[in-house]
């Protein structure tokens, strides 16, 4: 049977205009049943699409299956109220690998990133600490608070940049298995060793400390002013179920800092048309190279025969065959829900169950009938166009985390708030604005019980009242609001516990440990079943690296060329 499918497929291949034919084929159920795709991607999130693009461009015939009626996963733009486009999950474009953007010609397919300058932390005394991209301007702003900290800033920026320079190339490489003696793993370990040895001794020591320090302790070594520390610390906690005083958060800072160091124009900013523009461009690039996307189709399970993936079965019972299957879903969803237990070794299952996916954040997305005013800021301050925060001390940030640990949302949450319409008028009607508030912390369950609607409303109120404290009249400007707790994010996007990184970024779940030891190279115990989501190395954020790296491994297994895939750029 398998061979027959292969034959059909080979025959079909001979026809011209694959794209048009593909569409026809999907329309004809019989065809769909009989043919075997070269690859089926479960989930049309950004990593699934990146993976699909690379595979399709390598000459494979690829089908992306998405449960929602739109693609994009957590990187979408949706009109939730007339005239307003919501980036309702991911909200800024900072980490997306420029190499991937170039390989897949995303600008040609409509992706435009508008870089923004600025941002601020509002302080409780009515002042604010601004951030500027310009190093000297930033320094001057720090000097307003502390001359010593302004001086330390150079040292800080240099140290962090050097660490990024070491870690960044690792993002676009498959992590070696330290327990393996295969030449490739040994070679990769040697590469890492050389890279490490290329650092000076103090840098090496700093690297080792970086993996284990808390962002709070790390910042204490440079700065004395609390608000300046709070300003930097937020990058160390976004998306993780850790507080700024938890060891390991210094690495999370690096993870977020990576986009910034590229120095490539447009690597940090708003995607024009919202974050959905990223996945729209990916989808367009994919289709242009002949790929097929099927939306509104939920995969019920992966079809496995004799230890090999044969395709997928949709919720309605429809079977779709593929020579290989790639899951963009998180590792828990993939192996605890989509694959039968009997197909998996016990050790693997135990490790998947032990994988830590922790809901830690929520979103409040707001349509506004006018631009809110923040009396602390001068009129026309560039800060309006950047990211704004209200958590001006390490203690407030950490206390919000204590609330998470206790299983409640915080009365004084940490917000990362942006108003992308200040730079991108396409997202709202003229004069009106869209505001995105990323909120930390939001526990996956409230004191052990499921979120209720009342909880959700209380959570939203904590956010609105915090903003209103700094922006009089804010409530009156609200036209529409979407509140997303981990419950809503899981239900819509399919992220377990609503975790935006598909799993915590702690050392026990990084590199060769991600998602689980022994399976950190995008393969799984089931032959022909691969993983390409953020559960895999190097982890979350709209980065695209997991999808790309998984494609490289798949093509290696198929003995196909990867010449269309750029390696990591040298940094700086």
């Amino acid at each position: 049977m398998a061979r027959q499918i292969g034959l059909c497929h080979a025959k079909f291949r001979a026809f011209g205009n694959r794209s048009r034919k593909n569409e026809e084929r999907v329309a004809r159920e019989d065809w769909a049943k009989m043919k075997a795709w070269d690859a089926i991607i479960i989930g049309g999130g950004h990593n699934g699409l990146v993976n699909a693009c690379y595979l399709q461009r390598a000459g494979l015939d690829v089908l992306v299956i998405e449960k929602n009626d739109w693609v994009g996963g957590a990187a979408t733009s949706r009109e939730l109220t007339p005239g307003f486009l919501y980036s309702n999950c991911s909200y800024v474009c900072s980490l997306f690998r420029p190499e991937i953007m170039r390989d897949l010609e995303l600008p040609r397919f409509g992706l435009q990133v508008i870089s923004y300058e600025g941002g601020a932390v509002f302080t409780r005394d009515g002042d604010y600490l601004a951030n500027y991209r310009d190093h000297d301007a930033h320094r001057r702003e720090f000097a307003r608070f502390s001359k010593r900290d302004a001086e330390a800033y150079d040292r800080y920026a240099r140290d962090v940049t050097r660490q990024c320079r070491f870690i960044q190339p690792l993002l676009m490489r498959t992590a070696p298995d330290p327990t393996s003696l295969r030449p490739r793993d040994l070679g990769e370990l040697l590469y890492l060793g050389k890279k490490f040895a290329g650092l000076s001794a103090p840098e090496m020591a700093l690297t080792l400390r970086f993996w284990t320090m808390s962002i709070s302790e790390f910042l204490d070594e440079y700065f004395e002013t609390d608000v300046i520390k709070a300003n930097f610390a937020l990058s160390g906690i976004i998306g993780t179920a850790l507080g700024p005083m938890s060891p390991g958060t210094a690495y999370v800072l690096l993870h977020h800092y990576m986009g910034e160091v590229d120095g490539s124009v447009g690597a940090w900013g708003y995607a024009r048309g919202g974050m959905g523009a990223v996945t729209k461009a990916l989808a367009a690039s994919f289709k242009a190279s002949g790929g097929t996307i099927r939306t509104g189709a939920e995969v019920d399970h992966v079809l496995v025969g004799r230890g090999k993936a044969k395709g997928v079965v949709l919720a309605g019972g429809e079977e779709i065959f593929g020579k290989l299957v790639v899951s963009n879903a998180d590792v828990k969803r993939t192996f605890l829900k989509l694959v039968e237990e009997k197909e998996l070794p016990d050790v693997f299952l135990r490790r998947v169950r032990n994988f830590k996916i922790r809901g830690s954040s929520g979103k409040v997305n707001i349509a506004l009938d006018s631009l809110p005013e923040f009396p602390a800021l001068p009129k026309d301050s560039p800060v309006y166009r950047g990211d704004m925060h209200f958590t001006d001390s390490m203690e407030r940030m950490e206390r919000a985390y204590d609330d998470w640990k206790a299983g409640r949302w915080s009365a004084d949450p940490f917000l990362d708030m942006v108003i992308p319409t200040t730079l991108d008028p396409t997202m709202a009607p003229p004069g009106k604005h869209f505001m995105s508030c990323f909120v930390q912390y939001a526990p996956p369950r409230i004191a052990g019980a499921e979120w209720t609607d009342a909880d959700r409303d209380g959570f939203a109120e904590s956010v609105i009242s915090q903003i209103a404290e700094y922006s009089p009249g804010f409530r009156d400007r609200i036209v529409h609001m979407e509140v997303r707790t981990p419950r809503e994010i899981e239900a819509e996007v399919g992220l377990t516990e609503g975790n935006i990184f598909q799993g915590e970024l702690t050392f026990d779940q990084l590199l060769f440990n991600r998602p689980v030891p022994g399976y950190a190279q995008y393969r799984s115990p089931v032959g022909g079943l691969y993983m390409c989501g953020s559960s895999t190395h190097p982890g979350g954020g709209v980065m695209g690296a997991p999808g790309r790296n998984a494609a490289a491994e798949i093509l290696r297994d198929l003995a196909k060329s990867t010449s269309h895939m750029s390696a990591a750029h040298d940094v700086i």
């Binding site: 103090p202 020591a205 284990t212 938890s246 640990k405 702690t506 050392f507 440990n513």
Partner: protein, 520 residues
Amino acid sequence: MTSSETIVIGGGHNGLVAAAALAKAGRKVLVLEAGSEVGGAARTEEFAPGFRVSSVAHLLNRLHPDVVKALDLDKHGLQFARADFMPSVALSKDGPLVLHGAYGEVLTGTNSSEQSAWKELRAQLLRYAGILKPFLSRRPPDLAGMSLRETASLGQTALALKKLGKEDMRDFLRVLLMNVADLLDEQLADIRLKGLLAFDATLGSNLGPRSPTSLLGLYYRLAGETGGAAGAQIFPQGGMGAVAAAIRAAAEKAGVTIRTSTPVAKIIVEKGRAVGVALHTGEVLRARTIVSAINPATTFLDLVGPREIDTGFVRKVKNIRMKGDAAKLNLALDRPPQFTGVDAAGHKGRLVIAPSPDHVERAFNPSKYGEFSPEPVMEITLPSLADPSLAPSGACVLSAVVQYAPYALKEGWDAGKPKFLKAIMAQLEAYAPGIGKSVVHAELLTPADIETRYRMPGGHWHHGELQADQMLISRPVSGWSGYDTPLEGLFLASAGSHPGGGVSGAPGLNAARRIIAMKG
């Protein structure tokens, strides 16, 4: 002015071990101790008329076997038998759970499925701690370039890892920097057992059980051994002072001269070389080698002075985190307390109030903000039950290490201390009803008290927070983890150096070995 071959600053247990080891290698050694008695934080002191107690450390669980051997401590009165191993009792409202023998060879007070889960976890923890154990007795690897010997010893570690087998090695690498609470949740069910282990992993550090890397604390404990058994703990007859006395005896037998009540005011540096010390009296003592077995920050910032060392190094030293988070409680009781549900053998053991990991985590939270725990966690011993000489007849001594008690208490310890003592007593009363009425005298040593009384900056028992980023090659500071310093002729030997604190003697012995190897 007198001249000596080697001067050891600080007569704590590490200073004495270093001095003894150097003297045994033929050096002429002089130990200068600021206090009136040697032993540092490992002393036995009278805190109320007729009541004596181990001053800070109150249990022996990691005196390094190399130290015992090198100094023949068994001939100086330190001999341990299996029968001396103390049980650990996890106190709980649901009745106690007891780890017997060397860290729970036998577990009682819980069901059989938990017993077998514990057996498995215990074996795994000991296996993994065993991988790390060899690091205790040697210099951390030097990143800038390793000698053949260092490379070979790292190779041995790699081999030991391989010997674990593939899956075990993978687990080892996964859990190494994990938080202790997650690991316990993966493998155990009984919150009393999990609470005890969570407490042990975080004891002496500014971490909660949910802080990443907190599992290392448990490895550190289990890498230690007593009487040849990993994780075993004993109460030395006569208290900790007896251990210091045995090391002192070994040192003096080897020819070490000890001067007490002799605080050092300054380390004299000439042309980048430490050449001697000046005492508070103005007396100057010159020596070829100076070994500082006191806190590294005190050594460089106070005794050497920032002028003699480069700013990068000074900054690193200033950045060593050493704010203590543990207090010591000494109670003189008119009669032995009765902990509910605990038998006589249990009362002679280590009693731990840490009823669940969540409880420990909640106790930890306030300390992040400079507040003490309203419901503190603690380990309690009743040393006079095993050694009646420590208390008047019929009376009893209670010694407890209590967390969390941040050094920099926001309201200040003058105001906070009585409140904290009240919170501690309320906890004790809940597990040993009536104990409050039996208190004759209470002494609570906060980190601030420990700082002044034992010359431990920040009141930190380890002379520097013992967390992953301040361990191994980063202890006390990166680039200088091998007991050498930027100053020729000056070496470090306190718990502030690798491998860290606890009454182990390992930093002192390792430093002495380094000095001998360097012919320093």
